[in-house]
């Protein structure tokens, strides 16, 4: 599926309509493309260039600046072990070595079954739960060697499918409405249809929860500490 499929083409057009200049939609659209194919294909980038009126070299030249974009296939799960200062102080390099042994690849490598790509990551902003690991940028904190193994097992068995979508999926929530101010014509395609919005809102504005299969990701239920725990633990207990 090298070019954007019809659904993603519509998403791209909806994104273009959100900005005063179409090119501002480039990075959001590249995320859509990466969600579709797991990495950025040449044909896909040519298609994006056509949509935005850019040379394909401008698209690739921009994309190549950003670490999250991949131009070759990567595993279904991109496992990023943070080794920056806060995690290093809590043993992140031992964890990275364990991860290399467990997965049998060095950072940058992909396992033979195409499931895992390992990365040696920069600070992921979960330093209260160091060392931390992300899988497709979903957070797992306080990861020791046992928890890492458990995480890998859970990913293999599909137990974390609800929390960790395949590589490339950035946000599972799309914008529900187009711009309301200023007419915003260029490239506009009218009101975009809400696509897979996880949080439904009833007509009266009341909050409505969503179908269980699309349950709002309350973060990993994996035993490793969820990301937001870092904040919870950080409160002054019984604030003085």
């Amino acid at each position: 599926m090298p070019r954007l499929n019809p659904g993603n083409l519509q998403r791209a057009r909806d994104l273009i309509a959100l900005y005063p200049e179409p090119r501002s939609a480039l990075i959001p659209i590249l995320h859509v493309l990466q969600e579709q194919d797991g990495h950025l294909t040449e044909e896909g980038m040519v298609h994006v260039a056509e949509l935005l009126g850019l040379a394909s070299a401008e698209v690739r030249g921009t994309a190549s600046f950003y670490d999250m974009f991949h131009f070759e296939p990567v595993g279904k799960y991109l496992v990023a072990v943070c080794t920056n200062i806060a995690c290093m102080l809590q043993g992140a390099y031992r964890l990275l070595e364990h991860a290399e042994e467990r997965l049998g690849v060095a950072p940058g490598g992909t396992t033979g079954d195409g499931l895992f790509t390992l990365e040696d990551a920069e600070c992921l902003a979960l330093c209260g739960n160091a060392p931390c690991v992300t899988v497709n940028w979903r957070f797992f904190g306080d990861v020791d060697e046992d928890r890492f193994d458990e995480l890998v097992d859970d990913l293999r068995s599909g137990r974390l499918d609800g929390e960790v979508p395949p590589h490339g999926t950035l946000s599972r929530v799309d914008r529900a409405v187009g711009l309301q101010v200023g007419g915003g014509e260029p490239g506009a395609t009218g009101e975009p249809e809400p696509r897979r919005a996880l949080v439904g809102v009833a007509a009266d504005g009341s909050h409505a929860d969503v179908a269980p299969s699309h349950a709002h990701p309350d973060l990993a239920t994996h035993r490793s500490t969820p990301a937001t725990a870092s904040m919870d633990a950080g409160h002054l207990d019984g604030h003085p």
Partner: protein, 445 residues
Amino acid sequence: MTITDAPRIVSRRLGKPRSWTLESYLADGGYQAVRAALAMTPEQIHDWVNTANILGRGGAGFEAGRKWGMLRPAQPVYLTVNGDESEPATFKDHALIEGDPHQIIEGSLICAYAIGAAQVFLFVRGEFPLGIERLQSALNEAYAYGAVGDDIFGSGFSIDVVVHPGAGAYICGEETALLESLEGKRGYPRIKPPYFPAAIGLYGAPTIVNNVETMANLPWIMLHGGDEYAKLGEGRSKGTKLIALSGHVKRPGNYELEWAKCTFRDLIFDPRLGGGIRDDNELKVMIPGGASSPWLGPEHLDTALSNEAIAAAGSMAGSGSIIPMDHTTCVVRAAWRIVRFFHRESCGQCTPCREGGGWLEKILERIESGQGRESDLDLLMDVCDNISPGVAWPPAQTTICVLGPSMPPAVAAGIRMFRDEYLDHIRQGRCPFPPDRLPRRLVHA
């Protein structure tokens, strides 16, 4: 100095069940502040923010109200909220985005009204997909509730807000690089002058770029008044500050504290806060304001946590992330890791940063792996001097932005404070610290 009972302004809702939903936000009085703001004039709001004297919470500590006052009188004006948090060991905005996205939206609406913005962009670090999902969900809810979009709450004020994801580049936290990225380009910082996007920003239009935590303070200021806010803190450091504490403490985490009232000692050792150094080890050194700040030794434990006091001690409050390191820490390895980060994240435009970073990383790697020479210490300082002439603080720069000058502090501090430890590495031909915490790859390099 003491830990005061100041209100928690930005973090009070974090940790509550489903704190990110509209239902929860409204139950806590959400969107009352923007209603109050819309009943005021933009000038009154600006006055209150000036009275509150809120310093930008991204790291540079520039007065938000003063920044707003620098807008070039032209249309359109844009507001861009910087949620690209990537400074090593800083994890406060991450918590705010995931835990209380409506507060950020409400603060942004207040700012947008005050500065007369045509559109708001919430730029969120790409590596925060949960944060992006929660912020987008919150925004969808806010539109449906009438808090965003056309004729907000019947006030006649209309504004659109767009959540914009980044794609992995530390440099996009620099405001001009952020704007380039938002324009769909490589995240290259812009040449200064013009110094402020308030003059020439997004698409060349006057633009305010404010940090997420700065926005999160605005609803409280609207509900309680700028003067109430200014009663908290001391001097220029008003209000509260969300401090991200990591490293070798027993209780790492985000702590919102009244600014200028407690000290590093309170933060690190108080049982309600850091709880002391792990294993009751000795404190060796602290990084007080993000990886780019000069290190401070234990003799600065009684320095107040305020913009001015930390500056007077020779460093900076920066992003508010504090990393205490215990006596088992190898300072060469710590400096190597920080330099490696900046080198990896250099955008490559300026030679001193692009090349100097690589030199520093390789020389430190050589010393750490036992291959160093005594002349390497001078060589390190020489490279630092090429990136930041004088290796002083605040740093001079030979580069477009301050990423390059962020490298020397960790190196220079290590050499100045722990020269013998550097020399031990060189004379013993190995790192003197236990191998169990070594990156093996580095030792055998």
